[in-house]
Symmetry: C2
Subunit: 278 residues, 2 copies
Amino acid sequence: MPKQSMREALAVARGGVNLAGYDPEDRPLAPSKHNRDLRNDDASLREMQKKLWAEGTAGSERRILLVLQGIDTAGKGGVTKHVVGVFDPIGVQYTGFKAPTKTELRHDFLWRIRKQLPIPGTIGVFDRSHYEDVLIVRVHELVPESEWRKRYELINEFEKELVDGGTTVLKCFLNISFDTQRERLIKRLDRPDKHWKFNPDDLTERGFWNEYQLAYSEMLERCNTEYAPWYIVPSDHKKYRNWAIGELLHETLSELDPQYPNPPLDIPTLKEKLAPPN
Amino acid sequence: MPKQSMREALAVARGGVNLAGYDPEDRPLAPSKHNRDLRNDDASLREMQKKLWAEGTAGSERRILLVLQGIDTAGKGGVTKHVVGVFDPIGVQYTGFKAPTKTELRHDFLWRIRKQLPIPGTIGVFDRSHYEDVLIVRVHELVPESEWRKRYELINEFEKELVDGGTTVLKCFLNISFDTQRERLIKRLDRPDKHWKFNPDDLTERGFWNEYQLAYSEMLERCNTEYAPWYIVPSDHKKYRNWAIGELLHETLSELDPQYPNPPLDIPTLKEKLAPPN
């Protein structure tokens, strides 16, 4: 039997999605229960990124967009630090999306997203994204249902456009349990150096846990396309979460298999021009 | 005698600047000739960056703009990879400025620069910058002298505005010798995995070496302000160059001395709200 890929292991099941069926404590494909065994091949990740970047300088349109979604404390920041952090900053474009500004709200919901799309050769990282427009917007009824409901299809069309333009869209939903969120919020309260991360509004949001689970489930179902599938990353174990996303990136980059451009260079002539004067 | 700081050691001398007086092989403040002794305190850099970022989420306006200038092969990419790469990507905004687009050319030269300015709490990195508008633009006479000459003052005013708004502007000129550039270009020709970096136009630019030295000298003289001084980083030794810039960042961050925000939190009440139901 061929070895299962991380993408297969974390794929969303066909049909209706009920998040209750996805265990946040799972560790699919993990070689063992030992966290120390969970190490990505960072050197290889960096090498492939370098080649992707090199291709981009030579006209390739290929790029990656890593979309991170998940409730507060799910680990979007941790993935950025530990996984995205292995790459050369020259080829990384990180964007954290906050509540939209007044100006952004006067445009359609994809307007501010489009402005942050990664350029060729780079890995764009969206810490929250256009999906907030079917998540927080839905949970708090910031626009009428008739409007947010249209967005699933608009998002699918938008992502199709990205894929057609050379972007590999890698969407990760960081799945944590209600109890894990409690533990992490309490930890923030116990450590003065983490107080700044604590927003009392987070507790209000936590009160909408079930509504968010429902909104995530529908997002995972409606926007799980062939060309831009969702991956559900069990995220109660931080090490596992980071390792799994590193592996998703490794598989994605391996499949893209970027190569150094090989421009036609007249090496002898160029070297002669570079020779020091006699 | 108090220990000299890296900022003092790499400062531009008062009065007229002649780059010929700055040895690209120098290693000021290096503890020895051994490259292995040149290690920044990365943990401390990361910790201070984290605090700077934390401050930014709580309303602080402080941020850093690292400007990297230097002729081709001087090592702007190397600094990005090895020095900027130690930071958490959440707080890094890297921009590589290429030849301006047609649209950008229809605006004033600072228009595209302003769009990439770092937000509070982050470290912005400009790999080339508004200084190209008094460098390549001058060397190739892309605009009349009467126009680029005005830009020194415009740049000084622009940087004053940034500093007044909470940005620490850290400008590094990577100083390499004519011979070192030759060696590095030859290395690119010798290694097939580096061919993509070789642009035959680089040789044309190399032909303007003296004109560039003059343009750099005047930039270093005219835009070396109290509030946004230039540092001349001897860059013939890559390890030294990276270490020196890491030290400049360390000094800058230490002086900013960012602190974790300490929001007023009613911890007992918040913990009670988080308690699991009985």
